[in-house]
Amino acid sequence: MFRSKTKLLQLTVTLTACAFLLIPTLMSVLAGVTVNYFKGVSSGLTFKWVLNVWELYADSIFLSLWLAIACLIVTLIIGLPAAYGLARHPGWLSRLLEEFISLPLAVPGLALALALLQLYGTLSGFRTSWTFILVGHVLYTLPFMVRSILAVLAAMDLKTLEEGAASLGASPWQRFRDIVVPNAMPGILAGALTVVTLSIGEFNLTWMLHTPYLKTLPVGLADSYASMRLEIASAYTLVFFVLIVPLLMAMQWASARAQRIAQ
């Protein structure tokens, strides 16, 4: 069916790109379950490395999961009312605020981490606590939560729906609870999955903010790449894939759904 030369060329480029992205991923998966990577798969398959990873890095994995959940809770508490406020008060001030909180999308995490360290690095109680890393994660994921909800809210006639509820006797809080939150659900779900996915994979900020006693999953990965044998590094990467790929797929599904509703 791909008769023409142009199509053949396009197909070649597409397949090459797929190979470039997929082959190293598969190699990493394979290396994680191979007895001796240098000798090849013929040396046999094993779960030994994965178990090794579990012994070495279980704390990091749990810390990352815990951080992701905490990050989700904080971004919901801050982001949901904020998205509503921004949707109800459109104007240059809201635009400015939205632009400002989106800075962490543009400014490299390294720079943000330096800024946080400059201001709070001397507060040792805070600096060495997990909440310091949490602040970095919230900073980075909050704009995704806010925008995801805002997109859904902006697509519906929120003002009239609320006026309708008000004319039936609903107070501002009742309107928020009964009308705004249920109708924003697709955006909340997409935002929540994005926040969890990004938080689990966050490295740039975390590397600067972490302490030797508080290593997250990606920090542990960097650690294993630098100091462990290839099989363990691969097995750890495999564990990460197992966590992140289903989350990514759920996130893409939820975002597509929210976007359909927002149109």
Partner: protein, 267 residues
């Protein structure tokens, strides 16, 4: 409580958080950059001292190469996937968007598996072919990172292109090449500029990939990191961070005004 106070109350947590953990830290970072021994001259040093200016030039060059390569690959693949429906299409699309969730460190590791000492290329080619820790490896890492992001933006734009425009050009006698030049590329241009800006900004600021691969290459994020941790030259680290932050911020502002999309830039 009136409606207005309620809405303003809703914004309060956001205001407090972004003042405490974004506005004030950034101000502090700026002050830190000019509180060094050289004062404001630290910004001049970036272009005066060869170490920094060379770093800057190299970072821009690698980022530019990444941008154009990602645009070429993703536009070709994106147009192909939008215009052709065939079995396996969704699998290809999944493969191409999978790395969206990979942080830079992991991508660095994947490049090592490809071009490191124990890497695939070294094993299947004669001689000693190791490129993971060179500029080429860094470029491939950045490309790996950018392809999915550019692809999604381009595909979203391509889906909105009216196929009737191409058909109209064909009925008027344009050959496939002219259709691409006269109809498709102009239609995609805003999203190409937007996703190009995203790719460029991301490559400029990428820390994770550089951290794994660029142990011997000076790119800006690595220099910021070493200035801060090894040399304790906080003023320079802060000044470079601010310059880098402003550049990437402006680029992404342009990108967003053109396409209205937000694809995660960090990671």
């Amino acid at each position: 409580m009136t409606n207005r106070t309620f809405v303003l109350t809703c914004l309060t947590p956001l205001l407090i958080f972004s003042l405490a953990f974004l506005a004030f830290p950034l101000m502090r970072l700026f002050l830190a950059s000019v509180e060094g021994d050289n004062g404001w001259a630290v910004y001049l040093d970036i272009i005066r001292k060869p170490r920094y200016i060379n770093t800057l030039v190299l970072t821009v060059l690698v980022s530019l190469a990444t941008t154009f390569a990602a645009l070429a690959v993703s536009t070709t693949a994106g147009m192909f996937l939008v215009r052709n429906k065939f079995r396996g299409r969704n699998i290809l699309l999944s493969i191409l968007t999978l790395p969206l969730a990979f942080p830079g460190v992991v991508i660095g590791f994947l490049i090592i598996l490809l071009g490191g000492r124990q890497g695939l290329i070294n094993q299947i080619t004669p001689g000693h072919v190791v490129f993971a820790y060179s500029v080429l490896g860094l470029f491939l890492g950045y490309l790996y990172f950018s392809i999915p992001r550019v692809l999604l933006t381009v595909m979203a734009a391509a889906e909105k292109l009216d196929p009737a425009l191409e058909e109209a050009a064909r009925t008027l006698g344009a050959n496939p090449f002219r259709v691409v030049v006269d109809v498709i590329l102009p239609g995609l241009m805003p999203s190409l500029i937007a996703s190009g800006a995203i790719a460029f900004a991301t490559a400029m600021g990428a820390f994770g990939t550089a951290f794994t691969l660029a142990t011997n290459i000076d790119v800006i994020p690595m220099v910021i990191y070493t200035e801060f941790t090894l040399s304790a030259n906080i003023a320079m680290a802060a000044a470079l961070s601010i310059v880098l932050g402003i550049v990437t911020w402006i680029l992404l502002l342009i990108a967003r005004s053109l396409s209205g999309t937000t694809v995660a830039a960090g990671g």
